[in-house]
Symmetry: C2
DNA sequence: GTTACATATGATTACATGTTCATATGTATA
DNA sequence: TATACATATGAACATGTAATCATATGTAAC
């Protein structure tokens, strides 16, 4: 956590500015690269769809195949498959084949942690 | 609110079934209400935009006003204001007025935690 | 009051994306 | 091989939404 206090009262009046330029500059320097923040947004975008969240939550404690999910959430097989492709490419789920079925599950504890954090915020 | 209901004839090997119905039924019962999962998705949707993530990250340690953010991220004042409205209504940022300016900051530690978790996943 | 600055908002536009439908691929068994 | 089951994929459509522009509201100093 930050030990620095940022106060809006101007300690210096530099021309057209109002003393905020130092802060803006400082933040600009500590801001991660755009590419990283873009990837971060893309990650959250994957969580930001009702269907995908339902799928992820269903897999919280269980390994499920496409048909399980489709029946469980009353979705078409195609829709589930499309969404699982997105979840796979974001490394949010892993999978294994067993015979004709493919079983999906959450990729790691990060995924559970993110969902749990969000839940806490929503349920407050 | 209530979702679909499947016939609880989960008596194992029934024709085309493969004994997965018990699991589907179990997951269905432990799944939160659709409304909650919808809210959860809506929350992540707010994090799922590059501009908003940049704004949130800029406020990680700093209190900033609209103009600060606009200059910092090279965005229009209007765009920043629109996004801040979304962040406000999701309770992700708080604000206070001081004179003509309004200073925004992250609402609580949940927000920082969610961003940090996402960062860890992205930077892996 | 007027002027200047700071922020908010409504409407329009352009782009992104989730679902559906049809079809293809993959796997196991007879 | 053929057949059935399980999953994946491509295209088209419809909805959602972020940026822009113009304008409105709010605040402070004169």
């Amino acid at each position: 956590m930050s030990t620095e206090r940022i106060t809006p009262d101007a300690t210096a009046e530099n021309g057209s500015g109002n003393g905020r330029e130092d802060i803006v500059h400082k933040v600009m320097e500590q801001q991660p690269d755009d590419e990283i923040l873009y990837d971060l947004a893309e990650l959250f975008k994957v969580f930001g769809d009702s269907t995908r969240i339902k799928i992820l939550y269903a897999m919280f404690d269980n390994e499920l195949c496409v048909n399980d999910i489709a029946k469980l959430l009353n979705l078409s097989q195609s829709s589930v498959s499309h969404q699982l492709r997105i979840l796979k490419s974001s490394k949010l789920v892993k999978f294994r084949r067993d015979g004709k079925s493919i079983y999906y599950s959450l990729d790691d504890e990060h995924v559970r942690a993110i969902i749990s954090m969000g839940m806490e915020h929503v349920e407050e």
